[in-house]
Symmetry: C2
Subunit: 364 residues, 2 copies
């Protein structure tokens, strides 16, 4: 039985992660320790879950010898340092998303993970969605052929001003390190890179405090280019209501469209590139067939990621989301910010020092 500690015990820590353990949804591990800065919350734990040890600082938790693994659910900026400290203490690590706020920091964490023997995972629970798994598998299996275009309109992250007013750290450069990109979109940015790979150039239009009384961006449109010439558009906002969540991917052999919890697949009879060169009819088009892909199956979300992390520690499963992969979505996020700030296209690999310098300029 793996002894797991959790650092951070806010809404997500209590209502999602704690609940998963207390309702018996996690196999092979038990929640034995909680570390948090808020005494009232720790008192609640002591009263309601007296079997759980409480700590008010991570150092004490890590040195206690009470835990084999840690779930880090703190503010974004702290993820890399707390993860590295755990790795030094030979404690397995599952960090919440995002991996961090700037990739320079996350790269150090990844380097330490590479030298360490611990299991290192990240809470990309949307990778357990059967639809995204199917998109990933079809595209990586070559069923769509070479990527030509994608668009993801993911504007269903609605937040009113009340949300932003609920915590002074929210939606500040110093407290969170960004807005919709860093708080709401890490899942989407990860799924994008997981399913389609990393682009090579990003041109973005970010609007800060456009719809809310906040410092950071709440409206983003990004245009990206891939090494092979494919292009894409990513659109997000926290003020669109009703929002949209539609992810379309076009390859040389067909198209996938995710919207309204359905996945629609159109398969061409032959490669479009080949057809274009060989067809002789003026308005000829390749034959095609459209079907809805069956994506029934479990969508175990956070519970699925925690169980997978535990099984990986037991050597029974490989990780759904390796911690090291967190840098990819964050790189896209950082590049979008940087492009918006500097009003210029940003090439990847990202100039991480430049990004950090620009981010720090915005700390108040």
């Amino acid at each position: 039985m793996i002894r797991l500690g959790m650092i951070g015990f806010g809404t997500q820590g209590r209502k999602t992660y704690g609940k998963a353990f207390w309702e018996g949804q996690i196999e092979g591990a038990e929640l034995v320790a909680i570390c948090y800065t808020n005494p009232a919350q720790l008192a609640w734990v002591n009263e309601n879950h007296p079997e759980i040890k409480t700590f008010d600082n991570a150092d004490a938790l890590y040195k206690s010898g009470e835990i084999d693994a840690v779930l880090i659910v703190t503010p974004h900026y702290d993820h890399p340092a707390l993860a590295m400290q755990a790795m030094d203490a030979k404690i397995h690590v599952l960090i919440d998303k995002p991996a961090g706020v700037f990739t320079k920091d996350v790269r150090e964490m990844n380097a330490k993970a590479a030298e360490s023997d611990v299991v290192f995972a990240i809470m990309y629970n949307q990778r357990t969605n059967p639809i995204f798994r199917k998109m990933h598998d079809m595209i990586h299996g070559g069923e769509l052929g070479a990527l030509k275009r994608f668009s993801w309109i993911v504007t269903d992250w609605y937040r009113s001003q009340a949300y932003y007013n609920s915590g002074g750290w929210r939606a500040t450069w110093k407290g969170e390190g960004g807005g919709v990109l860093i708080n709401q979109c890490p899942h989407n940015l990860d799924l994008w890179q997981w399913i389609l790979g990393m682009p090579k150039r990003i041109t973005a239009f970010t609007h800060e405090g456009k719809w809310h009384d906040i410092e950071v961006e709440d409206d983003v449109t990004a245009y990206v280019e891939y090494e092979n010439g494919a292009t894409g558009v990513f659109i997000t906002s926290t003020a669109d209501c009703p929002g949209t969540n539609r992810f379309e991917v076009l390859g040389d052999l067909g198209k996938l469209v995710f919207e309204n919890d359905k996945l629609i697949y159109t398969k061409l009879e032959m490669s479009e590139r080949e057809f274009s060169k060989t067809n002789t009819e003026m308005f000829g088009r390749p034959n095609k067939e459209t079907t809805e892909i069956d994506c029934t199956g479990d969508y175990p979300q956070h519970v699925g990621i925690i169980n997978n992390f535990v099984k990986a520690i037991h050597g029974e499963e490989s990780l759904i989301a390796k911690g090291e992969e967190g840098i990819n979505g964050l790189t896209i996020s950082n590049a979008i910010h940087l492009s918006g700030w500097l009003n210029t296209p940003i090439e990847l690999p990202l100039d991480e020092d430049l990004f950090l310098a620009e981010l720090k300029k915005r700390w108040k």
Copy 2:
């Protein structure tokens, strides 16, 4: 009975416009003259429609006294000059889309139209689509409130290389003045400005000869901003197969989505801007209701525009598409080209001299 002449007698002229007259679909006008440069086609007219007079130059047609109105279906560059000549001869004018290739030329045509008493229309047949009429009427009627965002992915203009090989003038700067923007998209660009109005700034990514062996653009992504802060994305290509035609418009009071010949409307119970400021629940969202809008009704296409033109001449109807409005879609088209060429955002009103100078640089 209005005596109508047609200049240009290619595929569209014969199979769409000529056919409409010969099948008795046009009321109040008869096709009495055809002007074309191809003797074989004129011989075909003489043999099959001996009642129609044939001309091999527009000048002779205009001076003949045989026509009251003219339908101009020539290559794009010639539209403004032929229209102005008709206006001078007091002949009513219906031009095919686009209005021309550069707005400087089209502005002169509009100025002449303003001084003239003739009826001046443009073949924006997609304005007769009940779905787009409904979108136009709802948005102009205020049902969506202030515009916040739109996206139009209109990539269902597939053309293989064979299409481009079918005429040496096709897809050249000198022959057509552009690619997908000037040949395939004029309807979409017009519908965009007709339904949503003109943006104030355009940043575009145009790719020339990306998918075909052609000089001009066959892949375009444009990001635009409106005076009120609304943003939009327009994506088009002639190489996407299967393509998409999805037009989404978000306003402060709701959303319209056109796709697959359906129009889906989501109406908010209250203004989102007002909700955001007054709501007190952390994850609160305005109540909403989604319905499919009934858009049954005639879609008379080109026949509808010709009949409307004739009725406007008879003083019985106002024009569905005034000729003068052709400059709007063309301005967007020109601005997208210019932004792509110069790799910079373009502000509207457009610098027309700059556009023309850049276009001319590309003539071979």
